[in-house]
């Protein structure tokens, strides 16, 4: 398994153009969404209190944003935008973002996944942008559908867990929540594997039939639990460690007003997470490749096809 992970890392390292692709899309989407609210704050930055907001989130921002709306009918004359007016406007735009972000996340994920998996399956071929984009387009709609179905099932599962655990915890005590954590974590991990391997099988078999590949992935996961755990547990643990280091170690210590440094560190964190995700995809491609070429493993032998380059 170490060899598999190492080989996968080799793939990730070989195709660094993918790092750029995934980061750039993430950055540009976020930049587009942030632009309007940020521009609305330029004029508000004439108010010196903006520094309190810039220096970190606390109750002060909350108060200044919502305080006047709560009944303190005071403010400047007509036409004067106060800081709280601006912050309130930004928060209203943030509400719109709450709807847009999941949609864009879903679409961008579906777009890139086909291209990434295709590139890894073509290894050690040279990276070319045109085939990459063709593969993105080829699997865009099937993966859009797959993402929608996976998200829907995930939400239903979360709702079921909460609906079951709530009364249980109420009757037996809050320890029930903690007792459920390992089971929920294992379930989440297996479900993640099924979802990702569904896409890997689809690209490997050059098919749009994601329902068939879902059952193939499900069969593979069910019969190769050790392989799945060996692949997913280390990669997830490394991802969690990166999160912990950034969120608890580095980010709280950053002086917020040193924005170039903050921007740099934040982007490094984002890139780290993206690369770790690519590592898992590459390992998934390798696992399926071995499975489909070995007669004793896998649900059915398939031919590895190259639809975009043939």
């Amino acid at each position: 398994m170490i060899r598999l992970l190492s080989k996968a890392w080799g793939l990730v390292n070989r195709y660094r153009q993918l790092w750029l692709a995934v980061w750039l899309l993430n950055f540009l989407l976020a930049f587009g969404l942030a632009l309007l609210p940020a521009l609305n704050l330029v004029d508000a930055s004439r108010w010196t209190a903006i520094r309190d907001v810039a220096d970190g989130f606390d109750g002060w921002l909350f108060l200044e944003a919502f305080g006047p709306a709560l009944g303190a009918q005071v403010g400047l004359g007509d036409g004067e935008a106060t800081l709280s007016d601006s912050v309130t406007a930004v928060l209203q735009q943030a509400t719109t973002l709450l709807i847009l972000i999941p949609v864009l996340a879903w679409v961008s994920h579906a777009w890139l996944k086909g291209g990434i998996l295709f590139v890894y399956q073509q290894a050690p071929a040279e990276f070319q942008w045109r085939p990459f984009f063709r593969a993105c387009w080829r699997w865009f709609f099937p993966f859009l559908l797959a993402g929608f179905l996976q998200a829907s099932v995930t939400l239903v599962m979360i709702a079921l867990i909460l609906a079951t655990m709530g009364p249980l915890a109420g009757a037996a005590g809050s320890w029930v929540w903690w007792g459920a954590v390992p089971f929920v974590a294992i379930g989440f991990l297996l479900w993640l594997a099924v979802g990702e391997l569904t896409a890997v099988y689809a690209v490997a078999q050059n098919t749009h039939n994601i329902f068939r590949t879902f059952f193939q992935a499900f069969g593979f996961v069910a019969t190769h639990l050790l392989t799945i755990f060996s692949l997913y547990i280390p990669t997830i643990l490394v991802l969690l460690a990166v999160h912990a280091l950034f969120r608890y170690g580095i980010h709280p210590e950053l002086p917020r007003l040193w924005w170039p440094l903050v921007l740099l560190v934040q982007q490094l964190f984002i890139i780290s997470r993206l690369v770790l995700r690519l590592w898992r995809f590459a390992a998934g491609v390798n696992v399926v490749e071995i499975a489909v070429r070995s007669p004793e493993v896998g649900s059915s032998p398939v031919e590895i096809m190259s639809p975009v380059t043939k």
């Binding site: 976020a30 810039a54 006047p68 005071v74 403010g75 912050v87 996340a105 924005w259 995700r277």
Partner: protein, 608 residues
């Protein structure tokens, strides 16, 4: 032993014993109670006899007596309390299947002359004519027998399972003032008002219970029949409350000669290391700021998770706290949420501002709650760090001051003065808690901490064991500070005036400052110039709009009114400071965080 004999024994025990561990009395008792009570732990019922000694220390003859029968507020939905509260109090709901009530079974003078007790108002008050008036300087002794049914814990009293908080449980005399009894029916927002006296209380209950109560436990008798009798003695107090549970554990520590005893439930063992230090800090700080705590013991009581109605209540030398889930999110144990600390410090603060300086909580609730909440704000800052409070996590912070401002901003126009029943639910919170705390903090910032301490200390020492009112505080504050404080008393206490300072325009030559609202508090203005120099101006807030020009200085680049944010009652700080040009670094810092937040969300939700 019959109750009557036990009562005599209890009374004589205190009269004859010179060895009791109690300090010298600090007041001349007015209303004193010797009570013998039995708790039936199964039916949750009390049967008791009480000998009341009332001394007329007024200059008027008193022709009748008026008693509070508070437990009748919980008998049915016809009571004023339950009508006004909609059967809810602090998130707890009155249980119609477990009501509370009190019935006086006999009332007589010590010589056996029976008195007719007439229930008045909604049965939470009762009145009896006396055969002859009690003349000034004379005293009267009464024998009262009563039965009380405790409700399922609600509004500071009752039971839950085998936990008992027994408060407002006995017939208690009102306060004779200005030719009449100052006694109101029990209103939903109202608390209490009583004269100082001495209490001797013998409580008989099952022998597996641990008890706590006002004053000192001076004797514990094993009756040999599965019951015990716990005997309490308290002097210079205005009330007597007690608690019992077979599950109580205890920890204590001694501060300045006062033992702080924490009675806690086993499931809340974690709270020991939070409640006790908070109580100790409060006793230390308030003793230092206002005056020493004179009692030998302060009992702090934990309450069960399903008995929240018993938590957060103050009685003389006895307060209830418990694990307080102040945000209502099941996070009482979370160390980032300082609910337990806030409530502990607040309730201990009432020892000074209710138990010793005994305000009329019904007529002027802002005094005891406001003084206490202001004291809590100060003590939280000193003990847990500047502007500490509600949430102190690494990622989000909501200080107690900020939480107070949030509450204040929801009802800025409500005056602080007013009787408890004159306020609606949220208005009461603002008028009685947050606005007084913010107003007193503003007063402290205007006068200076040292002068404020002097004002508060003088007021406490002048009025401890007395019943002062707002006018008394006004007189002391102006006398000690040497300042006219109309803005505080006329502007904030007796009216709902508001204040917002703002910089309405700024140019190279100067700026215009405006004051919105009728409240006028002197402040300062910091002006920065393009050559790097600055100046700090004083502004008395009049007129409502004022232009400041600096023809002989470099260009003005930035102005900030009240730069240290001393005026915490100001409704909007966000418009106090203004620059001539946008603060691009600050803007970029915010834009960077916004960009990252969206990137993070895209990654979390989409996987890429």
């Amino acid at each position: 032993m019959s109750r009557r004999i036990l009562l005599l024994v209890v009374a004589s025990l205190f009269m004859l014993s010179g060895a009791l561990p109690v300090a010298a009395q600090r007041t001349e008792p007015i209303a004193s109670y010797d009570m013998v009570v039995t708790l039936d732990a199964d039916t949750k019922q009390l049967t008791a006899v009480s000998t009341i000694t009332y001394v007329n220390r007024t200059t008027e003859p008193i022709p009748d007596l008026v008693f509070h029968l508070y437990l009748n507020a919980f008998r049915d939905t016809n009571s004023i309390f339950l009508r006004e509260s909609g059967t809810q109090h602090r998130g707890e709901i009155w249980d119609p299947n477990a009501p509370g009530w009190i019935e006086v079974t006999s009332l007589a003078l010590a010589d056996g002359t029976p008195l007719d007790l007439e229930l008045i108002e909604d049965d939470t008050l009762a009145r009896a004519d006396l055969p002859t008036a009690v003349l000034p300087g004379e005293s009267i002794v009464l024998d009262v027998a009563f039965t009380a049914q405790l409700p399922r814990v609600f509004a500071r009293t009752g039971f839950v399972d085998d936990f008992f908080l027994v408060g407002q449980w006995f017939p208690k005399l009102g306060v004779w003032e200005e030719g009449a009894w100052n006694a109101y029916p029990f209103h939903a927002n109202s608390e209490f008002y009583a004269d100082f006296g001495t209490y001797n209380v013998a409580i008989t209950l099952p022998d597996n219970y641990v008890t706590g109560g006002t004053g000192l436990l001076v004797e514990q008798i094993d009756n040999g029949d599965g019951t015990q009798t716990a005997v309490y003695h308290a002097e210079d107090v205005i009330d007597f409350a007690w608690t019992a549970s077979p599950h109580f554990l205890s920890e204590s520590r001694t501060i300045n000669g006062t033992e702080i005893l924490y009675l806690y439930l086993p499931e809340h063992e974690w709270s020991v290391e939070r409640v006790l230090p908070a109580a100790a800090a409060a006793v230390t700080l308030f003793s230092d700021w206002y005056g020493p705590y004179p009692y030998e013991r302060l009992t702090v009581v934990d309450v069960p998770d399903n008995g929240g109605g018993a938590g957060g209540m103050e009685y003389p030398t006895f307060v209830t706290v418990g694990p307080v889930d102040i945000l209502g999110i099941g996070a009482a144990e979370n160390e980032a949420i300082l609910g337990s600390e806030i409530v502990t410090i607040h309730e201990v603060g009432h020892q000074w501002w209710q138990s010793m300086v005994a305000f009329n909580e019904a007529e002027e609730p802002w005094l005891d709650e406001g003084f206490t909440d202001y004291s809590t704000l100060r003590a939280m800052d000193v003990t847990y760090g500047e502007d500490s409070g509600l949430i102190d996590s690494r990622f989000i912070h909501l200080g107690y001051l900020e939480a107070g401002r949030l509450s204040y901003l929801s009802d800025v126009h409500v005056p602080m003065a007013g009787a408890a029943w004159e306020f609606g639910g949220t208005e009461y919170q603002t008028a009685v808690y947050s606005k007084p705390a913010l107003s007193l903090r503003t007063l402290e910032n205007v006068l200076g901490e040292e002068m404020m301490n002097e004002v508060m200390r003088t007021f406490f020492q002048q009025y401890q064991f007395k019943h002062p009112n707002t006018e008394d505080f006004w007189a002391v504050a102006e006398s000690v500070s040497g300042q006219t404080l109309d803005w505080f008393f006329a502007g904030l206490v007796y009216s709902g005036n508001t204040l917002n300072y703002a910089v309405s325009e700024i140019d190279a030559m100067g700026f215009t400052a405006v004051r919105e609202g009728d409240l006028v508090i002197p402040t300062t203005i910091n002006v920065l110039f393009s050559d790097g120099s600055s100046t700090l101006l004083s502004w008395d807030g009049t007129p409502a709009e004022k232009r400041f020009d600096f023809p002989d200085r470099a260009e003005v680049i930035q102005v900030e009114i009240d730069p240290e944010r001393k005026l915490v009652v100001e409704t909007q700080w966000g418009d106090n400071g203004r620059s001539r040009t946008p603060d691009i670094p600050a803007w970029l810092a915010i834009a960077t965080r916004l960009l990252y937040t969206i990137q993070d969300a895209l990654l979390m939700l989409g996987g890429l």
